[in-house]
Symmetry: C2
Subunit: 332 residues, 2 copies
């Protein structure tokens, strides 16, 4: 019997399809092997990107030259551009404004052949620090309301270059999905005077059927109402609304659970393409007690078709408890 499950935060129902019950080996998505080549993100090819806005460099190396372990550069083909005012305007019944914002690329390593999980601890931690530092810098720009950090790994997940990188977009409006999470967690807080994410974590640790792994600061789990097979969230176990205020001593713990989780997904599902997103508070941090930052990882295993677009509700062919078990037990 299929099951309908409701996401307690935003109220989205999903169909957990038992008839179609899919195991990891039923999915055939995989990232094609990299070939060594010189791409715009490679070491010694720094002039192929716009000038860097941030970098981790060896002492003495000059900006936009070799000697870096991480670079952040503006996207060459930005979805939003940094110059200009918003110019909000009505067009009859419609509303529009200028596409002002920031769109940056975090080049995680100079080595074309390495993926995020292959990085040494320090380099991986520097990726997290770069996310944090860029948000802390960009939040000074009063035009921006939200900053999304995300990573598309593999062409099928939307990556146009295979060299390991993440992206960051600062937007002048609150994205709809974020508003839904905020409003859901606000409603819960008004009713219970507790953070809904904290309550979920407590129940999940107690039930222990959807947990993938945990350490003393973070937990990785398959959400009860997962939209996608092997959808995985990583949350700080203790209440924290904004990612960018992450304590220095938490960064190592985050890298450790993130690396383990990505490795488990890769081992169980044969290195699938994936999307990773950091969900954090809006820049004005209006919901310090209500909201709880977290990372969402969505392996790209199924197609989103007409039913999903038409209704906004998803058919997930893998039971989240089964997915958690697979990920927990897979050898890495």
């Amino acid at each position: 019997m299929p099951e309908l499950r409701k996401d307690p935060i935003i109220g989205r129902w999903v169909i957990i399809s038992t008839e179609r019950g899919k195991r990891p080996t039923d999915f055939h998505s995989t990232i094609k092997k990299k070939e060594p080549k010189l791409c715009p993100f490679c070491n010694s090819n720094e002039s192929s990107t716009p000038p860097e806005v941030y970098a981790i460099r060896q002492n003495g190396s000059k900006p936009n030259s070799p000697g870096w372990s991480l670079r952040v550069v503006p996207n060459k083909f930005p979805a939003l551009i940094i110059e200009g005012d918003l110019n909000r305007e009505g067009v009859g019944i419609f509303d529009k404004m200028n596409g002002t914002g920031a769109h940056e690329v975090i080049i995680e390593t100079p080595d074309h052949m390495k993926d995020l999980v292959d990085l040494e601890d320090e380099d991986f931690e520097n990726v997290i620090r770069a996310y944090r530092d860029r948000i802390l810098e960009l939040r000074n720009d009063s035009r921006f309301k939200y900053i999304l950090v995300f990573k598309n790994q593999g062409e099928a997940a939307g990556a146009s270059l295979e060299h390991s990188h993440s992206q960051l977009i600062a937007t002048p409006i609150l994205p709809k999905r974020v508003m839904e999470e905020l409003s859901g967690s606000e409603k819960y807080y008004n009713y219970k005077e507790r953070c809904i994410y904290c309550d979920i974590i407590k129940q999940e640790l107690n039930d222990n059927v959807r947990i993938v792994t945990s350490n003393d600061m973070f937990v990785a789990l398959e959400p009860f109402a997962s939209r996608f097979p092997f959808e995985t969230w990583i949350l700080p176990q203790f209440h924290e609304s904004s990612f960018e205020t992450i304590a220095e001593e938490s960064i190592g713990k985050l890298v450790s659970i993130l690396r383990e989780t990505l490795k488990r997904i890769s081992a169980a599902l044969n290195n699938p393409p994936y999307n990773l997103m950091i969900h954090t508070s809006p820049l004005d941090n209006r919901y310090p007690k209500e909201y709880h930052w977290h990372i969402e990882i969505i392996p790209k295993l199924v197609r989103v078709a007409g039913f999903e677009w038409g209704t906004g509700f998803y058919i997930n062919p893998t039971i989240p408890e089964d997915a958690a078990k697979f990920l927990k037990e897979v050898e890495i």
Copy 2:
């Protein structure tokens, strides 16, 4: 300069990316040519599907045997199943219920090689009548709150069989996307005492920059805040909240504009995969004055990546006015 545009109904912002400004020839998605073969939806293969629940048949032909021009059968691998009660249940903080519902397949033609647009007028009209009649039948089941009719054309759009077919899913809950549209149009109605879709149609016909085609009953247009390149909506020009009460004399007009629109999309974009969905009122029709049924067609041309999943807002690389012009001017 990219532009941010807001959907007036559900308040979703999209980025219309001019930097990436894509023309029809920039998209490479295309449906692979069909090979003649005997599939479960083919004539004389009726025993490969569950028994039909509806059919258009020649006089004298027996159910589940040849002699039909259209069949409706339960989906062999249903996302929701017809038997059983809902059994709403709490699991700590979570909510779930049984996956009760209907999942049917409308086989649009016995001919494996024909697509929807290739059908004779009468057969195409019968597809619309089948949608209508199945909704009218299933709405008698008090467990169901919503019925979505949709069509996935092409493997990349989620079709698992290439033989031309549509699907219908009856759900025991109101899907989230539907709730958003209802609540948006209700808010507008409460404020203006007018239907927001009627107002949009009026402005669009007047501006005449996003209209693809129209006849005296329907209009096809690119929405102002299109999420996807060449996203196209077909709406009745006169207020009507529910698809299934469509007048018999409107069916021919709907087939005519739908056929023309699909042909224009196919000609402009080299026969791309697409999703088509009918958005209609919930079965209890609580919003007769506020809501306005319509068809949404989304050619599958781009990938939805981390940014879209993370924020629920979309980057559309084609300006809707350009898309309308291409579709309007393409030779069919």
